[in-house]
């Protein structure tokens, strides 16, 4: 298991476009990936679950990946979130 704590920096948080790009990116990995937010685990491969989680700018989250390619999954997730989804 690999994990990393991150803060959401883009103004709109995980709204439609970032959430969609994020879920698409995470689906490339064989590992299970979750976003730990407010004490619950959100399936990072599911756009619908990410939207329902209402993750906002400034929220602190943790990305947790478990599986063969866990390192790469967390690295890409962190790069996307820290880069503010290029917004």
């Amino acid at each position: 298991m690999v994990s990393k704590k991150l803060t959401i920096v883009n103004a709109q948080g995980f709204h439609m476009r970032p959430a969609s790009a994020f879920a698409t990116a995470m689906n490339k990995y064989a590992s299970d990936v979750v976003i730990r937010h407010n004490g619950s685990d959100v399936n990072a491969k599911s756009l619908m679950n990410i939207i329902a989680a209402c993750i906002k700018c400034g929220n602190e989250i943790e990305i947790v990946a478990t599986g063969a390619d866990e390192e790469a999954a967390v690295a890409e997730a962190a790069a996307m979130i820290e880069g503010g989804f290029g917004e």
């Binding site: 103004a11 709109q12 619908m48 209402c54 906002k56 400034g58």
Partner: protein, 566 residues
């Protein structure tokens, strides 16, 4: 007359086309061949995605790539592996595809609606759209084609879905009326992008209007006029034509300098609240940012934003503005805002209490982290610092000293910043107006915040209807205050802007030109209008108007005179 929310400006006169809700009723079947039913579901998903791509392509051509992306999001949603898995599980439990799709979509609609978050709740509309699209495919129902509507059609519908909008032909649709939606819903955004007048949230529109009846849609006022008289048709035709003429005329000012009729140049900036707003400022042809409110970074959260987080936001705004000036106002917050982690106690009179610069100077670590973030961002463009609510020169001095401390910290760490960063005062209190002469000796610029300046000068809360009549920037006392602030700035040769609402008021513009304002900062939609209004005046004419106005003793006289000459 039907009332609603004006969501897209302009006037449309045309004949109603009711887009009735399709009946997507079905009788759930028992599934005997699970594999065949799964295949039917997957085929429907493929067809849905193909349809959506086609619609997105149409909308990309008619409206733009951003709007198309909203629709393409539906593909990612329906392809969501989790959602698909849940639907498949229901089918495997011998539910028919229709029932499985409806049940799982409903689960997400409920989940999104329950969040209480406006943006997330809007996503529920997308899920409804997906559900209806999928059910129509599974049931083999042909969708109503808005694209076939004849010229001069007003679309009347319960809810305008993104997929419906895709079929809209801008040439033929002159108005949109819906029963649901708000200023910020997708329907509103799409209607504005298509430049079609729209009135949303009109209760009972679908039942009270009928196909082919003539109506007038006034998207600027948010009203629908039913069974219009000949006079009303004439009146609104004239209104529509002048709206379109003004709009075309305003476009002539895009990309132009902001200059008076006698050739004096002005800076025309925008007020923004988030880095994303900077995009709107650029799209509106703003020449910079005259007021970047930083409160958004501190609201709706449980702890202070980090220096890095703030730095990213300020840098982002500067990059979006492509190096044009960005004036960042330091935290302007007090006991009137609910920000529990700041530990601000409720007070009797928060607007005269512990807020803005007063709070920041007492919470130096927090303030210094904001100043360092601003300084770091200044390495990426023309960033300036503005202190709010200054009432005594000590506050300016202390603030400047803290900027120097922050600069030293950065030097020690070898971090780049603009050594000559400008530090200005938001002149928004009566006190700052009275001591504007000494403040001007030590500030690099002024920006007049007329909203608070009016309130503090008149000692009147505009939210209190018993005293709101006193709240006017055209009160002689407020005008004298504004003139004094501008004159004091001119004497010390520092720039002086205005970032309050008055800066965009056509009645105020000749006075500001005459007093010698150098920068106007307005909301993005006002930029071209203000540029046009400034271009109307020569300095000589403006001086004549101002001279008369400054001799007048009452607000009523001032307003009556200005209305007669503007």
């Amino acid at each position: 007359m039907l009332k609603g929310i004006g969501a897209s400006d302009g006037i449309g006169i045309g004949r109603v086309m009711i887009i009735a809700e399709q009946t997507l009723d079905y009788i759930p079947k028992e599934v005997t061949d699970v594999d065949a039913e799964l295949q039917r579901f997957h085929d429907a998903v493929d067809k849905f995605c193909a349809n959506t791509e086609e619609q997105a392509e149409a909308i990309r051509k008619s409206t733009g790539p951003k709007e198309a992306e909203i629709l393409l999001g539906h593909i990612t949603m329906i392809r969501d592996p989790f959602m698909n898995g849940e639907i498949e599980n229901l089918i495997k439990a011998e539910q028919c595809a229709e029932k499985a799709v409806e049940q799982i979509c409903q689960m997400f609609i409920d989940m999104f609606s329950a969040t209480g978050d406006e943006v997330t709740m809007q996503r529920a509309a997308d899920v409804k759209d997906i559900r209806d699209g999928m059910l129509a495919i599974l049931l083999g129902i042909n969708e109503v084609k808005i694209s076939d509507a004849p010229a001069g059609t007003v679309i009347v519908v319960k809810e305008l879905t993104p997929s419906m909008t895709a079929g809209i032909n801008k040439e033929n649709i002159v108005g949109i009326v819906t029963e649901t939606g708000s200023q910020t819903s997708h329907s509103a955004i799409l209607a504005r992008a298509l430049e079609i007048p729209a009135v949303l949230s009109v209760t009972g529109a679908v039942t009270s209007l009928s196909t082919d009846e003539q109506i007038i849609v006034d998207g600027s006022e948010g009203v629908v006029i039913t069974a219009p008289s000949a006079e009303e048709i004439t009146e609104f035709t004239a209104k529509r034509d002048s709206f379109l003429r003004d709009k075309r005329e305003l476009e002539n000012y895009r990309g132009q300098k902001t200059v008076s009729a006698s050739g004096e140049e002005y800076e025309l900036f925008c007020n923004i609240g988030t880095p994303k707003d900077a995009t709107k400022a650029v799209a509106a042809d703003g020449e910079g940012v005259g007021l970047f409110r930083t409160e958004f970074l501190f609201m709706d959260r449980t702890a202070l934003p980090t220096e890095d987080e703030q730095f990213e936001a300020y840098k982002q705004a500067s990059l979006i503005m492509k190096g044009a000036p960005v004036i960042i106002r330091t935290l302007d917050i007090g006991g009137d805002k609910e920000i529990p982690y700041l530990g601000l106690s409720k007070e009797e009179n928060p607007f005269m209490g512990f807020r803005a610069i007063r709070y920041c100077l007492k919470n130096r670590d927090m303030f210094k982290s904001q100043l360092k973030a601003i300084l770091r961002a200044s390495a990426f463009g023309d960033i300036r610092i503005m202190f709010p609510l200054i009432t005594a020169i000590d506050e300016l001095r202390e603030g400047k000293a803290l900027v120097e401390e922050a600069k030293n910290d950065l030097r020690v760490s070898g971090i780049a910043f603009d050594e000559n960063i400008k530090i200005g005062v938001m002149t928004e209190t009566a006190a700052s107006g009275v001591i504007a002469d000494t403040l001007a000796e030590e500030a690099d610029f002024f920006s007049i915040g007329t909203n608070d300046l009016t309130g503090y000068t008149m000692a009147a809360d505009r939210g209190n209807s018993d005293v709101a009549y006193l709240y006017s920037p055209f009160q002689p006392s407020v005008l004298r205050m504004i003139r004094r602030i501008i004159k004091c700035a001119a004497k010390e040769n520092i720039p002086v802007g205005m970032c309050g609402e008055a800066a965009a008021n056509p009645l105020m513009i000749p006075l500001l030109i005459s007093f010698g304002l150098t920068e106007f900062s307005v909301s993005a939609p006002s930029v071209l209008k203000v540029r046009k209004n400034i271009a109307k005046w020569t300095k000589f004419e403006a001086d004549n108007v101002a001279e008369k106005v400054m001799l007048m003793k009452t607000e009523a006289e001032v307003l009556a005179y200005l209305k007669s000459v503007v």
